[in-house]
Symmetry: D2
Subunit: 430 residues, 4 copies
């Protein structure tokens, strides 16, 4: 498939527009609206909002935050025709492009959310220098999802202009809330990949060098993100210490106990209590404490073991200290491995695309990604799934305030993905 | 001494003005300026700023906060002639009223700071109903120090108008930053009570019933207020957990260890870690944690024992976890007991003042007060010191957003204090 | 009452015989048999075994230990006529001496058990030098109860020989298992003091100087002695760590949590986990842990607070770690205060007895004694109770392997106690 | 090489003799003496005692225990001609059999120590039924080292009778103290394998089925066995709790902190505090605590990380609690992997030996073995090393009181090992 220069130029524009208007998970009202509007302009069928997102969403912001972000999106040009579908945090879009010929259903997935980070204001930071840095204080595209969204739009455009080459159906999935691994599960639950035979997820950067593509990035850890809160009873620490029920001490003891959950012989595990906030004043027995934590495991069995220990500890601590404990899962992802068939196809496609270095598989152990939900779902129904990484030079690491990537990686990705689609068709026919 | 009705009226006005413009410890720029200006108007000698406050001040707010509060004070009518003396957090004033006759030096101490509390906005809250509630968001006179300052001004006025009755010298001390027991030590270090023979501190409320005065409130616990910070090293919790140095876990372990400091057979002790804030993100090994805590003891020996254990634990934890620890004392008070001679004098004076119930001594164990610094200093140089409490009905407990007291208690205090002064002179002459 | 020199000589012999044959709590088979046999020889009525000890006994040794000690006692000359009543650990005796005249019931209580200590083998240790040191490895009268038992026998002898002077009834209570505060409760439950009007307990030594008597020793802390055991599941620590349920870690966490139970504003409290034994091998997840601990409190309310927190923690820990926890109370004593009336009587009697220094009351805070069970029971039924201490020079502190006292203190005690009895009668008649 | 039936019979007898006289690590006085005496009878050169064991020995028993075991060995027939060389715990023997032809130096290693376990007294336990169960209370060959020692003796006998077939030199190493991974390091330090080209270690059982041999058992975890002791200061828990320095609480906190050492991204790690013993009495602040613990790691880097954290924690805890801490390494082993060349040779030899199932390599992850010290030393000097396992049916698992194996596995091992030697020669000549 031809990739016209105009599409490349537009892809870069989209990316910069998204970069300037970053929206964190479940608040991608403007981003999703722009995507939806553009796709309809191209006569591409779309599903959006509740059609592609289930009601059950992990780590949803407060109604107040959702509302505030929604209003900002409208103010910044989101067409209410689309935005209203996303209201309340249903910020997903799925484009469907049926081909002229019969064939498999192939899905490409792009995540579109930003991070709660203040973007760098150093002069040498390119987005600032070139005038497209974030206009939203405390929000930033510091992981490249602005690029992902732009690639997805470009891919949709090209494919819709080449329907005669398409065999079967192509779906382009624009997923919200990948950060903190929240959004994928809701799209899977909404049935988005129920009919999918081939599923391709991708990422740019992540330490892979420029002009390099990893066709099968493996080893994602299964993970659960948990918020735990302890509520006790306040009391004056000097006058009536015995009348308090100390949530701060309970939380400290919980931290220590969770940190000490036994290793598993079944494989790698992780536990991290990332934040702890407790107490209101120095001379008051603390009546409230909140922990944000996560477990990980080489697979779901190990991660579940870790999770269950966390819950057991939480409940035991509550009893020990006469406090109440609540916990909620605010994010979740599985482990996953790319399907051999698809890795082989991608390797072949990447080699044809002229990328210098093509690595069939590499282990990205210790990170987590919720694309794994899609991958697992597709593999379980007999399909093939893969996760690829397109290398590029980074100005600073992912999630850093000075993060930036070289935009030409988007074009490389576009070449490989379109080429992969044709390779899939070719193999299907063999 | 006569107490004209006009003074009572003015005292209530002062109190309401201070109540409407609360300023937390070391930022009492407007309050201290108004006090200074009024005293000079009355031809009363004053010392202010660095003359009465040493450079060493515990729990000083940041320069930025000091500056912001200073500017607000100017905007709200603080005369820069006075305010400039207080700049940077030297917000104390001492009035000196020499009498016509020779005699002892008698000091009265009034604290003038507010609390970091949002004042109630319930309609039934009297300061709101009557239009003098706080105009400063997040600051409130919720402990009665607005009343204390007003009593101090009224007392100075009356005494300056009755110099012929004064034998020796009277000093009226307006102390900043009593909350969190910070200000008194700096005034003692500045020499404010070096020449004082009789020292009288007082408080309104504190659970004592209306029409009741406690002449010698004893049993204050010695206390030290400490901030502890741990700094470690961040790392990705999934990818490189072993590279982090976990300040959150260190802090949790410190909490547990401090909470477990052994009881002392030498008397009551307390430990409270009131707040703990640690970590930046769920998937990052926390590189920072901050604890606000306090120790108490029936006397300095026991409090010092508790304090030293806290420091020992802090340093041991730092070594255990390979993190660095810093700690700073942000408040301190001693235990103290009222001098028998002064309690007897006050009891006599109170009985003469027509207050219904006069309690010579009562134990206020478990609270802390930095007036104890003055008391200890005066007693050590052979003088007499006391702490009295004037009962009143409270709308809600001290430090509560709906705190309020019945203003007539101020008049009662004024009567007892002036009467006490004359009783002191009478006994001195015997 | 006359105290013949022959009784003094015999008292010393008894003491040395008991000292040479020490028996720890609930195994005083020989001691109690000797006491019973001697009393019957003197025609004194006795109750023994289950007549004076309830079935419910705290901290009872194993059946095996009881049996072994019983057999040893028989071998060492205990008459089975008496010993069989004590079998199984019912090792109490109560002598009853009715007087010829009507009057109150007065009880004297003496504890008779030894400690699990190896007696000193240094030549200068007087019991060794004079040939009456313990012949039981690992058992020793290191607290003076050998002396107490001897005083009790002498007192019974004298009183039975002076029935004409006795008004009402005298009871002499020989109590087992005072160490670890176990025995008194069982005697109270058996009804031993149900009819008692005056109750006098005593101790020798305890730091009181020679020729000094404290008539009312107050301030005993209420205490509960608790054993806690955690049972988990063993697993190979290298191969299957996740399959274990770690009782050692559970116990460690329990220790830390119990140590951190909040102070109480209601008064002094204590917690001590004195021993912890856990685990079977270095490379095995520990499946068992045992803690021996105690709580104390200035009164029953505070001690109960501490106890309940311990139980709460124990149960919470069990849940946290998926282990099972059991706990048992193995000792218990109350706080108690001597009755004013009896302290006055004793002071008068002591003054008449020619003892140099007579101290009416002294606070022995921080220790515990189960005589308090008798004291509380008698006071609750309207009677009077006291605890006196007879000073003496000690070779080494109580519970030390070189403990020894000057035997003349026994004669002093005998004088004061007989004198007290007569003083009681005199006051009753007034 | 022919293996005469008489040797098989004798091998079984040796095994049963060793089984009846088990000796734990560093006290194999009788076992080593019998081995030495027999070998000299066969005109085989031996080195023994300090010639093959360095002075530095981990986990050495007390002098008293060594002496007691030594005397028992003499009483049970150990010839003092040999035993005296082993006195003090130098219980190793190395046989050297030079061949008639030139060639490589090949070493076989057999461990000879027993375990501190009481052997089963159930009638169905075969060693009991057949009259060769342990006559040493609390010591038992529950891991098969009795069989290992017997195989070593049989192998030495056969080889010494076939010197014409030997090319180069064969060394048969009889190693003490393999349990708790203590003995190998001392033999390596004594230079026992300095000249070795091929090193073969073996084990029977370990879950491998009967008639099966694993030629290269890989994946041993590096491990360090550590004893930690805390010494504090005792104090009466009721009277002077603040005067104690609590070693029990320090130990509990250390347990919790060690249990919480962060996972490593570099690979599997383990921590286990297997035993904890602390305190002397319920009402005494504990002045002593002892922990027995172990760390493990997928390799030396990870194990060293774990070890260093343990030491850091130990030292920090000492500072926190004002106690002193000491630690000592009482065992150590590396991770190791069998050399491919030797695994191939062994596989070939095993196939020729008629064993049903031959598994070239299997991962025995999570266990530890100090043969790894020999393996690493030989591999580092350019030689080849392997660890094989000969399957057999077990009556109960290793280290269980009812452990027993089918003796025919010893004959199988003998066949494979002699065959392997010839295969080595054959390959060396190619």
């Amino acid at each position: 498939m031809e990739i016209p220069q105009s599409i490349i130029a537009q892809m870069n524009q989209w990316r910069r527009d998204f970069h300037a208007h970053p929206e964190v998970g479940w608040t991608e009202f403007r981003t999703a609206s722009k995507i939806a509007a553009y796709l309809e302009e191209q006569d591409i069928d779309i599903l959006l909002g509740k059609e592609v997102i289930s009601e059950n969403r992990m780590g949803l912001p407060s109604q107040e935050q959702l509302q505030k972000s929604y209003e900002r999106a409208i103010k910044e040009g989101a067409d209410t025709k689309y935005a209203s579908h996303f209201e309340g945090g249903y910020t997903g879009v799925v484009a469907t492009i049926p081909g002229d010929l019969p064939g498999p259903t192939v899905a490409f997935r792009f995540d579109i959310d930003a991070l709660p980070i203040f973007e760098s204001i150093e002069k040498k930071h390119l987005p600032l220098a070139q005038g497209f840095s974030s206009i939203h204080d405390g929000e930033m595209h510091a992981c490249g999802h602005d690029g992902h969204a732009a690639i997805g739009l470009a891919l949709a455009t090209i494919l819709s202009q080449n329907r005669s080459s398409i065999e079967g159906v192509v779906k382009i999935i624009f997923q919200p809330a990948e950060e903190s691994v929240r959004g994928a599960k809701s799209m899977v639950e909404a049935g988005v990949v129920e009919d999918v035979d081939y599923f391709l997820a991708m990422h740019i950067g992540t330490g892979v060098p420029e002009n390099t593509v990893v066709c099968g990035a493996d080893g994602f850890l299964a993970t659960t993100k948990i918020d735990v809160e302890f509520s006790g009873m306040a009391a004056h620490a000097g006058a009536y210490p015995e009348e308090g029920r100390n949530a701060l001490v309970a939380a400290a003891q919980a931290v220590i106990a969770m940190q000490g959950i036994s290793r598993s012989s079944l494989g790698d595990s992780r536990i991290n209590i990332g934040t702890l906030h407790a107490g209101s004043g120095r001379n008051v027995i603390a009546d409230h404490a909140k922990l944000q934590l996560e477990t990980r495991g080489i697979n779901t069995v190990v991660n579940t073991y870790m999770y269950e220990e966390v819950i057991r500890i939480t409940e035991g601590i509550a009893q020990m200290y006469g406090v109440t404990a609540t916990h909620s899962i605010v994010g979740e992802a599985n482990s996953a491995s790319s399907s051999e068939r698809l890795v082989t196809l991608l390797t072949e496609a990447a080699n044809k695309s002229g990328i210098e270095t093509v690595i069939p598989r590499e282990n990205f152990a210790a990170g987590s990604e919720d694309a794994t939900y899609f991958m697992e779902a597709v593999q379980e129904q007999g399909g093939y799934a893969s996760y690829s990484v397109f290398g590029t030079e980074l100005a600073a690491g992912h999630h850093h305030e000075a993060f930036d990537f070289k935009e030409n990686v988007m074009e490389q990705a576009l070449h490989v993905l379109t080429s992969a689609l044709l390779t899939i068709y070719q193999k299907e026919r063999e």
